[in-house]
Symmetry: C2
Subunit: 263 residues, 2 copies
């Protein structure tokens, strides 16, 4: 006479695939329970164990089966809804979204710099010095004109061919940027390990024709279409910590990302 009664395995397509999944929760772990659950659900979705359209089963049953409270289960589910992997509908249930929708995780070039820098693509530092801030840079970084800033110019290659020219400015007192580490580690990783916690960035993506210098550097013809990106990044205190001005070879690069619709 258990308080929970599992209905006789409904084999209708797209139903309760969760029943047979073995979830393991470690209450001694420092990882929050809702996060452990979310990770395992996400893995099950990624591996196809939880197929698109599958219902997750109602939250009450789920919490009883897992030995968790309902709010904790909801928190796990909510995090996957926020990632776009699950959809909740009142009166219906929670189901896995169809696969086409969730292939590229999201984000744009900030992610690119943040994670994949110095990997498959190689980056060569062309310039790395401290100079007085120009009016434009000073305004973007919120420092006084003439204040010392670090200027960085880098050429990024993929498969041996140029992809982008990156110019970045940072307040000089913020951190040291030895060229060797920059080439192997990537700018954002270095900022993070220097204790700088990023909060957000404002970006503007545009296009224009290549100048003669840009063309030479990127192995394009003068006047070729280039993709441009300007960005100011802020840390959690709201202080601007980086101002970037990048140009990409449009013939070899595009910004790919996913948008979730705010409901």
């Amino acid at each position: 006479m258990s308080p929970v009664h599992r209905s006789p395995q409904r084999t209708a397509p797209g139903d309760r695939a969760l029943d047979s999944l073995g979830f393991t929760l470690d209450r001694t772990s420092p990882v929050p329970l809702y996060h452990q659950l979310a990770q395992q659900l996400e893995a099950a979705i990624t591996h196809g164990t939880l197929a698109p359209g599958n219902l997750l089963g109602n939250e009450i049953d789920l919490s009883v089966r897992l030995g968790l409270s309902r709010p904790t289960v909801r928190q796990a589910i909510q995090s996957l809804v926020d990632k776009g992997l699950l959809v909740r509908r009142r009166g219906v249930g929670t189901q896995v979204v169809h696969s086409k929708v969730r292939r590229p995780l999201e984000l744009s070039s900030l992610y690119d710099d943040l994670e994949s820098a110095g990997q498959d693509p190689t980056t060569r530092v062309l310039r790395n010095e401290r100079i007085p801030a120009s009016a434009e840079v000073a305004a973007a970084l919120g420092v006084a004109e003439g204040a010392e800033v670090t200027v960085l110019e880098r050429l990024r290659r993929a498969h041996g061919r140029p992809v982008a020219f990156l110019c970045n400015h940072l307040p000089a007192p913020l951190l040291e940027l030895p060229t060797e580490r920059l080439e192997s580690t990537g700018l954002y990783r270095m900022m993070r390990s220097a204790g700088i916690v990023l909060h957000s960035a404002r970006q503007s993506i545009g296009a224009r024709a290549a100048t003669a210098e840009e063309a030479a550097l990127l192995e394009e013809k003068e006047g070729a279409a280039l993709l441009t990106m300007r960005r100011t990044a802020y840390d959690v205190t709201g202080r601007p910590v980086e101002y970037g001005s990048h140009v990409y070879r449009a013939s070899r690069y595009a910004f790919d990302f996913q948008l979730l619709v705010r409901t």
Copy 2:
């Protein structure tokens, strides 16, 4: 001997500006309490009543003062953290982010089509008919090649001058798209009022040189740099509902948005 004791008004800069704010909560309203609170907090931030750097006061006090439970207050605060308006730090408190960080709400061209279509910018429909799907369109929309799709070609102007050429394909059975309504209402609004609930979109932004036809249409020179955007939009069931292929005059248009860093 009240269980909560309010420390003597600290007047240090950036502290407890919330004390004097009058929040009104209506328990008979269909609007959730956490949402009412979030809206009023957001308004206070937007109007500057809650200045950047201001601490919000701890969640326990706040919930007592408002007559709400702590989880409800947390839910309100969390929604503003997700929007990038507030920052929480354990052991410190919750504070308003600095203003530069939060100027443009976020989103890119999906928002543009979703909200601002048919407003200041005017849109002229150049083509609106039903045709058999090409291989490319069929693949993008997940329909059979040759299935009936609606093709839309529009020219968008701002301040009387061309800004973008928009080409969209939709599964024909999805909805009716009378040209007159399209020009006044915008595509996404029409989809929404037809009961189509959007979930997400995959986008790719690139650049290339203008063809002769595009140049003529957009009042640019042949070979001028254009910004391009390709997008597939999905509804909550994961079904593709729109495939768009847009070109923008780079000299008069850029994608502007804010990224929040996933922590």
